[in-house]
Amino acid sequence: MTFSYQAALAERGFDVTMSLAAGETVAVMGPNGAGKSTLLSSIAGLLKPDGGRAELNGRTIFHLGGNSSRWTPPHRRGTALLAQEPLLFPHLTALDNVAFGPRSAGVPRKAANREAERWLAEVEALDLARRRPAELSGGQAQRVAVARALATDPALLLLDEPMAALDIHSAPLLRRLLKRVLAERQAVIVTHDVLDALMLADRVLILDGGKVVEHGPTRRVLEQPRSPFAAGLAGLNFMPGTLTKDGIRTGRGREVAGHLEEAGPRHGPGGPGVAVFPPSAVSVFLTDAHGSPRNSFPVSITDLEPHGDQIRVRAGGLAADITPAASADLGLVPGMTVHFVVKAAAVSVYEA
């Protein structure tokens, strides 16, 4: 019960390799246009890549390139797709929608309806069985859509931002539901929400520009991000560069002092590394505050925005969280040049 995938689509600069262990759920994240939809569509069989190969539970679902051109059509793949919108068939009742998969697989009507009722009960929507999709709220419809996807007993469940179109009251309910049904099930979930990755996925895969830029257990990726996107998800400041004796040197020659994570660098000084620190560890000064072991970066403020009960100061690609009182005392306005000061002890440095 495993899934392996490698595919390239030159037209979209897409080239991704990934795999799933038995019963594993992977969250796929990344900026818009990173290739997340291309990944799901090609797994589902709705989009044909230039080349590559994928196997699901020992069955080749496609093998393109070289002298092979095997391409299993979507209806024979066992990969049910749950999209952002429920896309329930508007002319069928909720029950008939859920029974659609089993009936397409040749299950007789009565048995398919029993199966559908079981899944509707599983998503706590049995009372909606007789309703048409137009008579369901967004959250109800998405729950029915989950039941419809699961009723096909998919070998691999594909979820394309299933919570994105829901209002803030329906999303938590669906998230709890998905957590229950995704346990011990192979699934790929595309999401923008770090909460989905933490709650629903065992691992996270970060795509950018059609390539995998980072992957690993969700917690590790969020604690020690190695890509700007993952750092953004974790809400951390991120500075890439080359490792030095006591920190990193950025591409612009800026020295960042920090403490080295992990036992010791494999490559030693000179290898690629990143420095990461939370915005709450940054202090803002009007003048340069010298004195080791501190980092002081002269930056020009681009934005000030509320962040919880703090003010987030954005400058030079970094962020600092300070109290509204401190912001008022310093008289901060966009365009002003200030110094971001971080203690070396608050900066994590590790290999990229």
């Binding site: 397409s104 048409r132 709220s137 967004g138 209002d167 803030i168």
Partner: protein
Amino acid sequence: MNTRTYTGLPRWLYGLAVLAALVVVLPLAAIVARVNWVDFLPLVTSESALSALGLSLRTSVASTLLCIVLGVPLALVLARGRFPLQGLLRSLVLLPLVLPPVVGGIALLYTFGRQGLLGGTLEVLGLQIAFSTTAVVLAQTFVALPFLVVSLEGAVRTGGQRYEAVAATLGAPPGVVFRRVTLPLMLPGLASGAVLSFARSLGEFGATLTFAGSLQGVTRTLPLEIYLQRETDPDAAVALSLVLVAVAVAVVALAYRRPAGRGVRQASTERATASAAPGGTVP
């Protein structure tokens, strides 16, 4: 109607709009005014009239069915297929909409007639199409098919293929997707397209006269009968015209009534947004 909101229409526009409406409505009123109501029933139930009406209805039903059987695949292939010269084919299919029907009739004659492109082949098979009831149906199909294809292709294109894609990932083979998803979803578009095709078939005159002639009971449909009666019995022509006007009114009402499904769907989105509101408006 809300009479309070700003329309932005200059007043003189209303004058021209009324004129335009009169151009359409006045001639219709003139027919109604000219009808000989005393003899109306005998006029429209005369033997030749009934024969023409019956032939018109039979051939129009036949050509509408033919339009559906041929037009649905054509509309789907034009909307969703990918093949070379697709754009050119789309334009060619629309040609009968703008072609003078007489030209269509001549084109059909040189396709299916005895001296035509397929005439020899058909003769070998023992088929004589020109100047038969089959010719009437063919002429009507020729002019009515674009109506069905255009209205259906538009509906299919705006609907997109997302339901079909979902159905496929749920394990439905293409045949099942077509029968259980595509066809039911295109039904409203198909219904209005079929009604328009039927109306166009019912009114067909030029192509029919050219390609099928005017044989009572065989090819003389109601429009041909009206044209013929105009010379000898204007009262009969007017009465039969009124019958066709009535049918046209019914057809327009059927084809352009507000689709029932849309109202329900809008209501549901309103409900969805309304249910989201309370959380944000807690004092």
